[in-house]
């Protein structure tokens, strides 16, 4: 089976190269702008870019049309008459099951899930990583190895035992239960991230603090934390996007009135009853994708770092 060393090299490999992604062109002087090679190069890239942008364009355009216009035309034609009604409807009126208060309910559920999950999982994982880097004890590496191998086990294998545990505690179907689940499954990759980061800090720093008589928590709070802002930001991006986009845990561990946004979105769009309102569906889809998209555009290169380090989590 995979062990810690392997994964370390994997993630370390990404860590080493990820910062270089942003390096701009350097070296040889530019060739003439309109060579046939350049036309090929930019042509191919532009066509590829259009392919990636197309669905976004279709989403936006559809969400701004009225239903009669959708029935008449094709999905690529721009709206003749822009209307924001689908957006209002998606946010406040669309029905899922018995509730007809739109995505707003799912949005606030997702916020109430994401915020504590991110804080708790990062708090636990950063302390774990710190303990593993600086305060190893007998067995700590073993638990860590289990944790990392666990990251590869399909969630489906562990889901039912968790359902039983949460049911026994009496929090199955609540947001609290889901927050715990996210904290558990965020642990492997975040712990790895923090452990590698803390290992990379100069050991003298830690030793000097020890000599000065600082203890476990003191060193963590006063020395390690202030030095690790970048890795905290990376972990936060990873968790916010990951938890916001989650569907499986949401659908297993919550009930209709506590559904996160992704689950509610799927129920709105794929509900079988009634007329399909494609414009409302697309507005709802954009609304659900908005939070991770904003995180992506605002965080830029840090997103790449976080996702590359966390991609094993899937």
């Amino acid at each position: 089976m995979a062990d810690v060393g392997t994964l370390n090299t994997t993630v370390a490999g990404i860590d080493a190269v990820a910062p270089r992604l942003g390096e701009g062109p350097s070296g040889a002087k530019p060739r003439p702008a309109l060579s046939s090679r350049n036309i090929m190069l930019y042509g191919t890239l532009t066509i590829a870019a259009l392919y990636y942008l197309l669905p976004l364009y279709v989403m936006v355009v559809t969400s701004l049309k009225g239903m009669p216009e959708i029935r008449l035309g094709n999905i690529f034609s721009p709206p003749m008459e822009i209307t924001f009604e689908p957006w209002v409807k998606a946010w406040a009126e669309a029905c899922t099951g018995l509730n007809c208060d739109g995505l707003s309910r799912g949005f606030w559920n997702s916020v109430r899930i994401t915020v504590p999950s991110v804080i708790i999982s990062i708090a636990i994982a950063s302390v774990n990583g710190y303990a593993l880097a600086n305060w190893r004890f007998r067995g700590s590496e073993l638990f860590f190895s289990i944790l990392i191998i666990g990251a590869f086990i399909p969630y489906q294998v562990m889901i039912y035992p968790i359902v039983i545990i949460l049911r026994e505690i009496g929090i199955y179907g609540t947001l609290t239960g889901l927050v715990i689940v996210h904290s558990i499954f965020g642990m492997p990759i975040l712990t790895l991230l923090f452990r590698n980061y803390f290992v990379s800090l100069p050991e003298e720093l830690f030793k000097a603090a020890r000599v000065d008589g600082a203890g476990f928590w003191q060193i963590f709070l006063k020395i390690m934390l202030p030095m690790s802002l970048p890795i905290f930001v990376v972990a936060m991006i990873l968790q916010v996007t990951g938890i916001w986009n989650d569907f499986l845990f949401g659908v297993v561990f919550t009930r209709p009135d506590t559904y996160p946004m992704t689950v509610q979105l799927n129920n709105i769009v794929n509900s079988v009853q009634g007329v399909k309102e494609y414009n409302v569906n697309m507005a709802a889809t954009i609304l659900t994708g908005l939070v991770p998209l904003i995180v992506y555009f605002v965080s830029g290169r840090l997103f790449v770092r976080g996702i590359a380090a966390g991609a094993v989590k899937g």
Partner: protein, 301 residues
């Protein structure tokens, strides 16, 4: 776990207690959820649990029933086809995009942003968008028909034989950006002098890529393959959003089979057996990878 400090670190003795207390969540997760949960599920896959888990053992009955179920066989076939194709295509497309991006182009940031943004979106969002783009009455098919080819048919999501390709298109749209990023990072790690040397020797560019650069990028490729493969086994949301497994059972995947049997059909035993098979699949991916990393890697020095 007594308070013994690890050998070679003399300054830590019994005072490591704080670290142990702080590690309790990790220890619990590792032991209870990852080890305990996994063994629990494997254990109960040998029972005939229905609505509730119960301890009446039936041997490998559940597995026999599983492999006799057309729905499971379809799910496995879909996963195999989808897995192989998405592995090949995402590596090829990701590498080609990265190679193009590595040609000292202008607007590199813009292109990278465009190629990667789908990865920020959830599989549910991806699935719903592509469900719309591939909609036969309004999407690509209707557009091409309105341009004159009235017999043009491109309707993957409602055609059982090709529905898995419809899902593949969406999956590639979502995931190739990440592969491109990893590959680009790998290419940037290749020494500039290698290119110069190849140029001096008059080796054509494609040959340099194929014979020198790609072999040098072996670690990046392995990492990428492991990342893609572990995502493939878990594919669930995308199918739910795009087709709900339909038409019929033609886009069924193992992860969905597990969910449906555990939480909808109230047939826990089947769900456990199916999820154990997923675990086996992952082990089949991980073991050769670990072997490559250690066995193969060491020999090469």
């Amino acid at each position: 776990m007594t308070g013994q400090a690890q050998a070679g670190r003399p300054n830590k003795l019994l005072r490591n207690l704080n670290a142990k207390i702080a590690s309790i969540p990790m220890i619990l997760t590792a032991l209870v959820i990852f080890v305990g949960g996994t063994f629990w599920t494997v254990f109960y896959s040998f029972t005939n649990s229905k609505l509730l888990p119960r301890l009446s053992f039936v041997g490998i009955d559940q597995y026999e029933r599983l492999w006799a179920a057309p729905r499971w066989v379809t799910a496995i076939e879909n996963l195999a086809l989808y897995g192989v194709l998405s592995l090949i295509f995402s590596l090829v497309i990701g590498f080609m995009l990265a190679a193009l991006m590595d040609q000292k182009i202008r607007f590199e940031n813009t292109f990278r942003t465009i190629f990667l943004y789908p990865f920020a979106l959830s599989f549910i969002v991806t699935g719903l968008v592509w469900q719309w783009v591939l909609n036969p009455d309004f999407g690509i098919q209707s557009v091409v028909r309105s341009m004159g080819w009235t017999s043009f048919t491109f309707n993957p999501l409602y055609t059982p034989e090709i529905v898995i390709y419809g899902i593949l298109i969406a999956a590639l749209w979502q995931g190739t950006g990440l592969v491109m990023c990893l590959m680009l990072a790998g290419l940037r790690g290749i020494d500039e002098d290698i290119w110069k040397a190849a140029r001096v020797d008059g080796i054509p560019m494609w040959k340099t890529y194929l014979l020198i650069v790609i072999p040098m990028m072996r670690p990046v490729f392995i990492t990428t393959i492991v990342i893609i493969a572990s995502g493939i086994v878990k594919v669930y949301d995308l199918v739910v959003a795009q087709t709900s497994g339909g038409p019929g059972i033609s886009s069924e995947v193992p992860a969905k089979y597990v969910y449906d049997y555990m939480f909808q059909a109230q047939n826990l035993g089947q769900g456990f057996a199916a999820s154990t098979m997923m675990l086996v699949t992952v082990a089949i991916i991980i073991v050769p990878w670990a072997y490559l990393e250690f066995g193969g890697g060491r020999k090469r020095g």
